[in-house]
Symmetry: D2
Amino acid sequence: MLIVMKPTATQSDIGRVKDVIESLGYRAHVMSGVSRTAIGITGNEGAVDRTHFEHLPGVADAIHVTKPYKLVSKDLKLERSVVKVGNAEIGGDELAMIAGPCAVETPEHVFEIAEVVAKSGAKFFRGGAFKPRTSPYAFQGTGEEGLKILSEVRDQFGLNIVTEAMDERGIDLVEKYGDCIQIGARNMQNFSLLKYAGKASKPVLLKRGLSATLDELLLAAEYIMSEGNYDVILCERGIRSFGSHARNVLDLSIVPALHKITHLPVIVDPSHGTGRNYMVDPLARAAVAVGADGLIIEVHPCPEEALCDGAQALLPNQFLELYEQVAAIRKVVQPEAETVSV
Amino acid sequence: MLIVMKPTATQSDIGRVKDVIESLGYRAHVMSGVSRTAIGITGNEGAVDRTHFEHLPGVADAIHVTKPYKLVSKDLKLERSVVKVGNAEIGGDELAMIAGPCAVETPEHVFEIAEVVAKSGAKFFRGGAFKPRTSPYAFQGTGEEGLKILSEVRDQFGLNIVTEAMDERGIDLVEKYGDCIQIGARNMQNFSLLKYAGKASKPVLLKRGLSATLDELLLAAEYIMSEGNYDVILCERGIRSFGSHARNVLDLSIVPALHKITHLPVIVDPSHGTGRNYMVDPLARAAVAVGADGLIIEVHPCPEEALCDGAQALLPNQFLELYEQVAAIRKVVQPEAETVSV
Amino acid sequence: MLIVMKPTATQSDIGRVKDVIESLGYRAHVMSGVSRTAIGITGNEGAVDRTHFEHLPGVADAIHVTKPYKLVSKDLKLERSVVKVGNAEIGGDELAMIAGPCAVETPEHVFEIAEVVAKSGAKFFRGGAFKPRTSPYAFQGTGEEGLKILSEVRDQFGLNIVTEAMDERGIDLVEKYGDCIQIGARNMQNFSLLKYAGKASKPVLLKRGLSATLDELLLAAEYIMSEGNYDVILCERGIRSFGSHARNVLDLSIVPALHKITHLPVIVDPSHGTGRNYMVDPLARAAVAVGADGLIIEVHPCPEEALCDGAQALLPNQFLELYEQVAAIRKVVQPEAETVSV
Amino acid sequence: MLIVMKPTATQSDIGRVKDVIESLGYRAHVMSGVSRTAIGITGNEGAVDRTHFEHLPGVADAIHVTKPYKLVSKDLKLERSVVKVGNAEIGGDELAMIAGPCAVETPEHVFEIAEVVAKSGAKFFRGGAFKPRTSPYAFQGTGEEGLKILSEVRDQFGLNIVTEAMDERGIDLVEKYGDCIQIGARNMQNFSLLKYAGKASKPVLLKRGLSATLDELLLAAEYIMSEGNYDVILCERGIRSFGSHARNVLDLSIVPALHKITHLPVIVDPSHGTGRNYMVDPLARAAVAVGADGLIIEVHPCPEEALCDGAQALLPNQFLELYEQVAAIRKVVQPEAETVSV
């Protein structure tokens, strides 16, 4: 059930609806849009009786939700959500550029990359302190030490930190040191972790699983939102397929498909999505052309020495060139948008 | 084996190498590039003895080919091939736009669409007279009558005709009435048909199979070229995957992957690649951003009445808008290129 | 539309219905089952008016078909079809074993294998004279000479010949020399070829395409049947997927799925389905356990010298052991069936 | 590095090698086989120097491991591992049958099914108390209450309990109440959870991820084993593909592929692997025929009322019939094995 408030509804009208929902033992999710506020109801087992709501002051309509997802849906919020990450935003007019190394290695190497990223005009820095590696014998990340380095990057360069957590302890630490909790593709259906992230105070960047359908991705986001954390950013990062010319198949068609259904921002990761240095640039351009709200890109000064995923990292100057091109494409796609700062 | 000629080699030097190849019972494929001519050898069963060639006048090098493909490879021709289709080109600076209905239905409806396509500045018209349909009971196309209508479109609007053939008789007819023989995804590994198309006098647009790898696509092109028809255009049209938000997954990463290996032009079909009207525009933009040499787009004035694939056809005005956007993106991607005519 | 005749209907009743169908410009497909005869109608564009039929003598019912396929369906014929191939059958109580080399090479090597196959008790011999190879430069088969060798195998060993055709000329030749026309996975949606095979006088073994759905496979069979050739055998041979431990993923679940919908026999090819010698035996057992009507197996005395697909061929003694095991499993699965001759 | 001991090596020889490994700061994994003991080394970053070991008493060889996995490999242990689960075994001569409902609902319904399972002769009972559901609004399981019911099933029927854990707290509880910790497909690459399960005192049933490769599955098992828990059972449960005739494609080829590389037992889940009641029986037969060490099957007395996955559950009498058939096939496949108790 979804309660749509009239444009003229007051805060007290909204509060009254919320109280009724909670008195019925359900949970109320208030989503304020530009033109109207809507309130999603979760926690009900059967259908909710609309007569509880339809005559309350300020209520425009009580709508039965027939889709499997509620809070991610445009039915609840018509406008695209703009998610605040640190002191910047993802999902607004400006293309969000998140860049940095695959893994946090030494402070020197991280600061070297951060300097390039800051210079480019990008507002977000990526880098993993906890690395989900296929083999238990591969480099597993620098852990809390790595997070401290990232925290210094924020202090020194004013970049907002996006970094992965793989378990509850990791989420607590990213909340402490970072600005955005990344949940990786392999954990997209780690439902316990999603619920825990739903209680965190920082936004969540949720990557699509290797063979996740659109519905599964949206329902994973719904897991997070149903716990009260509405700041979710979705990320396409390539799906598993039969070919070998790229590490994954970057499924750009999911970007317009998601934008049609959900108000959440959608970004694209052409680095993991292709796994090949020479493909990152063209696929980044394509991702912006298809309408993505941002990019997440791996940059490394010596890719051949990277402790993980060097084959897909861009050199600093390649990254700077890429950023110029995607900014130009962004202007074509969204001419009314503010220009990105290059 | 691949014979690379010196830049100073004369036509008579080239002719002499060709003669030696043929005297050995092999077939010579002369590929002239801007900076050099190279001659591919096929028809050999074991390795070719390079001593036959390396001391001939004008020969720079005799190179052993270790890849599975020869004639499609950049080893043979460094520059991108520009394929002449009717009075226009695919693969050059100008973005090639091929547009028209899925199937040729009545003359009226075809002319109505052709007028829009011609007005847009596109130089190629698509439309199927022979339709490969999953069911034997679905509309199978209008056959030779349809081809005659297409031929009138060329006469009346100056558009070059790209249309599918499904068998040898079809190839003969498309050669007669059209400008470019399309071989569909389902026939990409119909090797008898590929060989027959290799003897045709018209260029071939070869669509990637539903689950074809990059190597399989290139080797299908190699089948055509090994018979002497070097005018092949490759087309990404979406691959089969597990999802359902689009009819296929448009694999744009294959565009840079192909451009890295082959000199042949690569175009993209966002209509079949997505199967959804609302996705055609964003994915067409993405295809141009990724570096495709052209687009093939379905346009229909009344998609809901189309005899096939109406769900993915653009309305005429949607097509005109799309063309403007992709032209602007083309300028970003290939700033040195001539502007497309809009 | 499907006309179900009463059990008491006479040949003349059936003939009258057929005449009415043809007088309406449609095509009648008479399918005689054990308990009843049904007549499928094809060639209609819109719905067929049932009032033409329901009062004719011998007619039990006139049923509207809502599924995309008509003639393959159990709606038309309740009992499983038993297809006569040469002097033996596929689809009956006895497990059909088709064995032989991937390609017909020399007469000596073919006869050597044929002797083993005949000795095993298998009734069908396979071997390709026309080989659909990914590369134009790979061995393409011995053509008509190969078919003549196969024809001698029949004369000398009493084995029925199953061999592939890739084009119309190939179908004519297989009709002349062989007992069953194989249409390979890559041609499963070569609709022109399917229609041509539908006019042939020999049964057709239709292999599932590399990424064909169940519906697409059934509709490919429907293409053949709609032209009047009702002797079609379906074959699962592995689908394309992301893994690399086997060449393809053998999708055994399609066997019960097909048996639920169609009356046509379904066999399995564990050789192409796995591409690994050591997997052929376990997957052959699994195919019989899942209920397949037969197996098609590659056997070669010196796999490492085979001109194609040596990696998946069984040695003669491996084949003999496999046959014993699958025969024992067949008895468990179909205890009432005649024992296979081992 | 892998230290192979001589057949004559004493416990004190083995202890000495272990001490040396630990003194170097590495971890020693002692695997005792029938004919020899081998000791795997993990925790090293670079190569381990073999000179530390090759002259120690009882050491036969010090082998460099080049594969990505160590402890799962047959290089370490030649014989198949037999994993003790409660008072029974998985991986030995006897086919392991694990049966029960998808989810633990009420005590009455669980006991009703347990009675059937016990009667069949199966030694393992399955049933989920924690359910990983795609939607946050679907039934999430009965939690610790459900585990208590399962514990009573063990007490009352002597069945060993296999049940899923989704997070660390869940693993603690399954350790307390159950006999085998199931890690589901969606958590196969939840590396934090794998490490935690590696410290548990109960065996782990690890399900293959929806699009996991063989290497990824083995490395997930390696994560568990590298923490000291060597009792891992692998489970094929179907992979994601393009088709719709079954919920997943059951990839039986992975069974012989795994048996070739790893000493760990491999079982098959035809219930989730197909998602269709009518397919469970044939695919269970196929799984046993292909050589699986066991089956995990969903049984429910009223599938249409099941709180999850009713469409794939067998009725009690269907399950009893299935068990008889698979037992007969097991005898064909492994004639030397003890007969399963039916």
